[in-house]
Symmetry: C3
Subunit: 137 residues, 3 copies
Amino acid sequence: MAETSPNGVKVLSPTGAVRPTGTWSVGARAGDFIFVAGMRGIDPQSNALVEGDEPRIRQAFLNMRLIAQSEGATLGDAVRLVVYVTDMARHRPLVNQIQEELWGPGPYPPRTIVEVARLNQDDIVEVEGTFYAPIEK
Amino acid sequence: MAETSPNGVKVLSPTGAVRPTGTWSVGARAGDFIFVAGMRGIDPQSNALVEGDEPRIRQAFLNMRLIAQSEGATLGDAVRLVVYVTDMARHRPLVNQIQEELWGPGPYPPRTIVEVARLNQDDIVEVEGTFYAPIEK
Amino acid sequence: MAETSPNGVKVLSPTGAVRPTGTWSVGARAGDFIFVAGMRGIDPQSNALVEGDEPRIRQAFLNMRLIAQSEGATLGDAVRLVVYVTDMARHRPLVNQIQEELWGPGPYPPRTIVEVARLNQDDIVEVEGTFYAPIEK
């Protein structure tokens, strides 16, 4: 399913990932790094937003994880997370909780978290992850 | 025109690019990656914002492309785009349209798009791109 | 203090850095790149926000610099800065001033600066830096 540019950028579309609805792909590998698009809490089966703040935020992280894993990266191989929320007071504690659930005792990746004015579909949280998984040589 | 740090970061200032007006450069190469600063729809000739939403957004993408191309990367070698808009409903469709125009049928790079409260000069869209173009060895 | 993932991501916690208060680390090295978490103007000694806009913004940059330096990168080795402010008109000039102070005559790294709706602790500025410092082989 993957397409590769002349310079060697591999655009990803792993089985089970959300389907892009516009001019974007879910991820790309270039060299030893994997760049995952901003992920929201969309159910990849139904293509609908998951109901409930906590389940929806969890789904966003799971969507990101699936794409990273398709290229051999675990959550422990994240080198940067940028988390965009639309209500810092309400969503940051949920993001922390879900990261504890998924990363266990850590270590956790470097993170930037900011409250933005709006996300696509008036969604509540979007998470963008960059991962490292050297190609076996 | 390029200056290189002791660790090998090459700061870019290609002919035809917009001119930095503050403490920033338009791009940098480090190893096989090219990092382009957030680009807005400024006409590099006049240094003024292009009039009209669609032409201005197109110019932002063209400004980014010029810098990437100066280091041997095409739009197909983008590994991450972050698009900052100030009105999601109004600008996201235009961004999609211009990406279709510039990337053709794709594939498209991973993208994150968020609505922020404000951009410099009260501008409407800023796009930040990261590219991959291995140095020939 | 550093822990390394199976794929080789080294999570950083250098002496003198701010202490993470949630599910994040201050930085990570992967290959030749160093990814520093979004830094704010917290005094690493007292763990409190520094008083005053200018001193606080300076502290954010110093916090970032310390983490980069712990892996052998100088400010001149920054490949990307993303600066999140909560008041563009008020904070961008201060960011420019502090970058001049810290980078001297330049060159400066590629930068993206956006005004967001809110930062954690209702803070005013957060800066996220990516650096390049090849591992000596």
